[in-house]
Amino acid sequence: MELVRFSAPAHIDDVGADSDFPDRWHDLVSGLIAESTEVSGRGAYVNPVLRPARRERSRAITWTGLSRPLLMQHRDDRRTAYEQAESREAQIEYLEWHVERTGGAISRVTFSTETPEYWTLLAERHPDVVLALYRRHVSPRVARDDLFPEGVYEPRNVWNTARGIMHYIMPINSLGDLLGVSQEIEPSQHAIDGYDALPYSRATGADARINFDLWAMSRQGLSVATADPPGLYMIGWDDSGWAKPDGTPVDDYWTVERGRRGAASRVTYAVPASEGFQVSDIRIGGRPIEFGGQIAEHITMSAHVVSEGGA
């Protein structure tokens, strides 16, 4: 048994050796995990930095990237749900995306699960790295002043909103929110099973998934901790049943730009120029792609926990 030292999300190394960034990141994440809060109850959610854990079992907590509230609100009109999901303000399942169009057609969609905490700290310690990463991943035209007006990093800069995406901007999407919801581990309403916890008022799939999974583990007497590295990932996607304009199945048009397959934090979906068509020309189950949300609906999100104890 040993204490955990938190790694950067997806084990990405943006800073190289001789930086205090890894230490600062570790401290930041640890600071987001309160050992005891009003909703952490018996302390079943633990900070593995402070308490050694055997980490006997790991579990991937999964949910869908497209906003469940929108799908519920528009049960009889899915297209409206997709349309409204195009706004970053509606992307509230820990997955945000940016759609690029060429001549009205979708040419590329970029998905991100990166947190504002990471990028704000990186900007504080390594502003040149942040600028270089924006230029590499978003646009070579990114200017320092665009990101650092008056010398301070602006998370809602134009290259992370109107003209691109690098990390979450929705307040509900953050590492602090993930860990905060995770700490709500004391089963509500004295529920002794999942049915007892109904009705469940939060509408997002992510919140429900995290709450119900951790409540169930807590009821078994397990203590739970975030897996290392803490973070949010695209664990997979399903493009079966997606067809090219000629009706044949699509090839693999996904590119993982940060992270890896199975634990991706930045992914683009674009058709190679050699194919001669655009993302908009692809049909999912016979329906043309009009919105990025139609792709997000087939992306599975994950957060990972480890547990110990229990019967």
Partner: protein
């Protein structure tokens, strides 16, 4: 097929399941009065009443379901639209209503519990009708077809085939171009279902309908025989497992006060508000019948605020999904034998883990190490289990105890968060995660995904047959999957694509090993992870498929009045 798999298959269900008997159900009481008897708050207010006009109008295979041993599925094509309208006028009075089937089923339920009989002592032959979006367009115009709220229905099953996981490769056996019916060039306009208590009755009524249709310019594209398996395998599918054990209970009562889903839990049990029988979730009827109050996304005790989108003539109708699923029984049992040996267990035990139930229908969650026929035969207990927490005792309502039910004394299911007893990818856990959260939310969301399943096998049984001939082994067999629902996309397609076909949803751990399909750029390998009690994970890759789609269609089962009225050309009232 050879070896242990063949032996296990031959030895399935050699003995019958001892059914409950000697139970006299209490007389029906109006739901509200029943609630007042014990606790005014015991039942949620607002469950709908099905008035006589409605129960006479909803088709009987939607509610409560035919459940007959002999069924004929007539896939028909309309050649003459005017002729078809006349045929519909003549067909409508022959269709079986909810009221007709309900009366029969209620009587049989009492008879079954009293005597333990597996078949009713009286007989009936019933008919159901459904039509495709293409048929609506031909009968009522393109605008009317476009007004149907379900986009997947409007597209049709062939257009959604690869989305459902069927092969994209035209050479693959399950490709839509090779289907017996329902492919791009063989889509049916109409599906008529005949259900009877004898094969002869079913054949005669089917022949009569085919003849009537032919005189009106409606011809047969494909006729499918569905037959319940014989003897102790009655109610089982061809792999040998009891099928259809878990069905949702539909909320609501008839005008005479009888609940569609009787409540058997003591009302003082908080779960009595969301279960009919123990383990049978109560679902608002609008999940199956258009225009009825439907499920709320958050709260199972109240209906959603609106009833959904549909044209007025479609009220009291239901979408119908039909899939003709060939089953390669030797392949399934060969795999169970090989993989079981790798895990140090028997083919039957391993196959039961893949399914989540033993061949008898007893859930592995309640009886992890061996089949339990007594549990399987107890219809008040065999569906009572959860996955994430220990399953609690339940007290039957007084009337059931007074009627002779001795209570659920069978072993209880234990919490199984990590899938050590019932694998996370086990079939019944995949398609109905019960109390667990899913990738789409709380258990309240899962209640929105449930369907009313009305399937029946086709082809000769191989299970339970010692030394089968090569011809019998090679014979075509499978399941006519039939299910009714209010949204094909949010119910059938959701469960198939998002859960059965996914190695990640609703939990990581692999594909549904029974009905799941994968197609990753042409690679159709499926995976399965099994956790042993020590936490060790064993991984399997299935490079063979034992369920192959060979036909089907998306249909709509209108109210009977709409068949003889709007669809037959009558002016809207």
């Amino acid at each position: 097929m050879t070896g242990e798999g063949a032996q296990a298959l031959a030895g399935l269900m050699t003995g019958g399941v001892p059914r409950l008997s000697g139970i006299e159900l209490p007389p029906a009481k109006p739901a509200s009065a029943a609630a007042r008897d014990v606790d005014v708050d015991a039942f949620p207010e607002g469950e709908p009443r099905f008035d006589p006009a409605t129960t006479a109008d909803i088709q009987g295979n939607v509610l409560p379901g035919f459940n007959k041993d002999h069924q004929r599925f007539l896939f028909l094509r309309i050649d003459d639209v005017d002729g078809a309208r006349g045929w519909l006028r003549r067909l409508a009075p022959q269709l079986s209503s909810m009221q007709e089937v309900l009366e029969f089923r209620r009587a049989f339920r009492r008879e079954r519990l009293r005597t333990g009989a597996s078949a009713p002592s009286t007989t009936a032959t019933w008919i159901a009708f459904a039509l495709s979006a293409g048929a609506i367009a031909r009968l009522l115009g393109e605008e009317a077809a476009a007004a149907m709220g379900d986009e997947a229905f409007r597209q049709g099953m062939a257009a959604r085939s690869t989305f459902l996981g069927d092969p994209a490769d035209p050479q693959a056996p399950g490709h839509r171009g090779r289907w017996r019916v329902g492919g791009p060039d063989s889509e049916a306009d109409v599906l008529v279902t005949v259900a009877a208590d004898t094969a002869l009755d079913a054949d005669e009524k089917a022949a009569e309908i085919v003849e009537q249709a032919a005189h009106s310019g409606v011809r047969v594209l494909w006729e499918q025989v569905g037959e319940n398996l014989p003897g102790a395998l009655g109610g089982h599918e061809h792999f040998g497992f009891k099928d259809g054990v878990s069905q949702p209970g539909v909320r609501g009562a008839t005008a005479d006060g009888e609940l569609l889903a009787p409540r058997y839990l003591d009302p003082r049990n908080p779960h009595a508000r969301i279960f009919g029988k123990a383990g049978q979730p109560l679902v608002w009827p609008g999940q199956f019948v258009l225009g009825m109050p439907r499920q709320d996304p958050a709260d199972p005790l109240v209906p959603a605020a609106d009833d959904g989108a549909f044209p007025d003539w479609a009220r009291n109708g239901s979408y119908l999904v039909c899939r003709r699923l060939d089953q390669d029984v030797p392949a399934f049992w060969d795999f169970a034998a090989t993989a079981g040996a790798q895990c140090g267990t028997s083919p039957v035990h391993f196959a039961s883990m893949l399914v989540g139930r033993w061949p008898s229908g007893a859930p592995v969650s309640r009886t992890p190490d061996r089949d339990d026929l007594e549990l399987a035969g107890d219809e008040f207990a065999h569906n009572h289990f959860q996955f994430d927490d220990d399953t609690r005792d339940w007290t039957p309502v007084g009337g059931l105890v007074e009627g002779g039910y001795r209570g659920d004394g069978h072993p209880k299911a234990r919490a199984d968060v990590f899938g050590q007893t019932c694998p996370l990818a086990g079939h019944i856990r995949k398609v109905n995660p019960r109390d667990s959260a899913t990738d789409f939310g709380a258990p309240a969301d899962t209640m929105m995904r449930l369907m009313l399943r009305r399937g029946i096998p086709y082809g000769p049984a191989l299970a339970g047959v010692a030394d089968p001939s090569p011809e019998l082994v090679a014979a075509e067999r499978g399941l006519i999957f039939v299910a009714y629902m209010a949204s094909i996309e949010d119910q059938f397609e959701f469960v198939i694509r998002r859960w059965a076909n996914s190695p990640l949803q609703p939990n990581t751990g692999g594909h549904d090993p029974v009905i799941g399909q994968a197609d990753v750029y042409g690679n159709r390998d499926r995976t399965l992870e099994l956790q042993t009690p020590s936490g060790e994970v064993k991984s399997f890759v299935f490079d063979r498929e034992w369920v192959t789609t060979t036909g089907g269609g998306y249909f709509f089962a209108p109210a009977i009045s709409a068949v003889g009225g709007t669809l037959a050309g009558a002016e809207p009232a």
